[in-house]
Symmetry: C2
Subunit: 316 residues, 2 copies
Amino acid sequence: MPKLIRMQRLRNDKRPAQRPVMMAIAGDSAAGKTTLTAGLVKALGPERVTALCVDDYHRYDREERKNLPFTALHPDCNYVEIMEQHLQLLATGQPILKPVYDHNTGSLTRPELVEPRDFVIVEGLLPLHTPLSQACFDIRIYLDPPEDIRRGWKLDRDTRKRGYRPEQVLAELERREPESEKFIRPQRAFADLVVRFKPVEGRDDPPTTPLSAELLLRPTIRHPDLTTILAGSERRAIHLTLRRDEDSRPVDALHIHGYAPPEESRVVQKAIWSRLGVDAGDPPETLGDLGAGQRSEPLAITQLLLLYHLLDVSRG
Amino acid sequence: MPKLIRMQRLRNDKRPAQRPVMMAIAGDSAAGKTTLTAGLVKALGPERVTALCVDDYHRYDREERKNLPFTALHPDCNYVEIMEQHLQLLATGQPILKPVYDHNTGSLTRPELVEPRDFVIVEGLLPLHTPLSQACFDIRIYLDPPEDIRRGWKLDRDTRKRGYRPEQVLAELERREPESEKFIRPQRAFADLVVRFKPVEGRDDPPTTPLSAELLLRPTIRHPDLTTILAGSERRAIHLTLRRDEDSRPVDALHIHGYAPPEESRVVQKAIWSRLGVDAGDPPETLGDLGAGQRSEPLAITQLLLLYHLLDVSRG
């Protein structure tokens, strides 16, 4: 064994650890993880980002799950220990041979080589499930839409893209609810940022109005000083409220209003972008992309804040 | 990152590293690796041994290899870095999610969880290919039959068990020869024990005579004192010769004669077995099993020596 330890040191000397910036995006099925991630990948450039989904760590395929007393959400249905191991390897700059779950066929297939680039974005149902997995990330996000909105998104996606009938999706949502409560939603407590897209209550906006976003900025990481950045902005587009978190600790709540005129949101985006110090131009046009030609300014501002954190960590 | 390192320590405290004894059995295709391994697994008890084959780390499936300028023997045809990583994980007592190559279909399939038991025996084409992989093992074996014998074994196995026609096997042997020379046979230099099954030259034994074995015992590990153990044995069954290795370093060559009467071989086996101090009875009857009801005393003695080393390392 001493020889192995010497060899490992040798290897580390040859390949100085290029430790990537690690971001987790946790949330329930159809909470918007993939949409949020896609905008970050486009903005940073795919050649600088490794994006992966830890739902690939399923222990059983769809056929085997039919005879099991739990759903794919249950930790026992996943190789959690291997997920932890692979997150540690990526966090220390090493490649992994990642399992692959095929959502179309429901089967586990040939694994694929994943090498960490400058930024590693890990989305999925359970990336923050254990203390060790939480410790692998520099920035932890939890996507927390109201349940009725998430169910609408899941119904839409699973019928259009995954070939299910509506009644099948609704039955699955029911079946999963106890495990969502027990395993998915508790991860919210371990996030540095909780993101909630929802309509603003008590307003009578037209149905085409983009959803607003409420971001809980927990002081577990160093957020940008938004009181300065937002000093000159319209409170109609965005405002910050100091309040107490569920555990009564101080927290900032950032409200980004979907009903604000896009021009006003763009002013805020420029202010955050210039604070990033990347270049003198405008923020990437790809931010806020909802797919199908639609754009959301609250999504764009959310992604800009996450970009801020990714770049902030990479600069040390 | 400091948090991750703290967490990893915590994990290590919770699960004190149960470091398994690691043995590599390297050699070319059909060199006898699986037969040698099977006897060790049976003798130790399958519940105490994890046996795996690193040929599962193929980067390409059979179909993809058809368009490539090298064979499955080439390191570029294998995830060598992932093999090294998995060997390090096993050597430090951690589980792996191992890729799986299906020899029947030639395809890469769903990976499987492998947890290290007390003894980990790793066989394959390239387990000793890199310095880091070599450092993962406590005991390194290289199987080195004369080429004509190995070709006969491969022809027999691939036509009977893998559905190839003889001319296909012979063509494949030709195609592989340059890579065998360049990548497989150099591993011989990094073995603690080189095992060569072959007939004894210059004798006119009947064709049913079991092959003899010649074992090179390199002083890179602590071999049992055979001069004592063999003191009372018949030289007809087994004898030890002090000589110089290819690199002119001192080495013991152990000759185990297939033509010796089985009773005499059994005396030697008992002597080694009692030196192991496992129990007072006879050596396991499963040693020496060639399959199809055949038994080889030289194979049994070889396996007993490997058992000696496995148990010697496990006792520290």
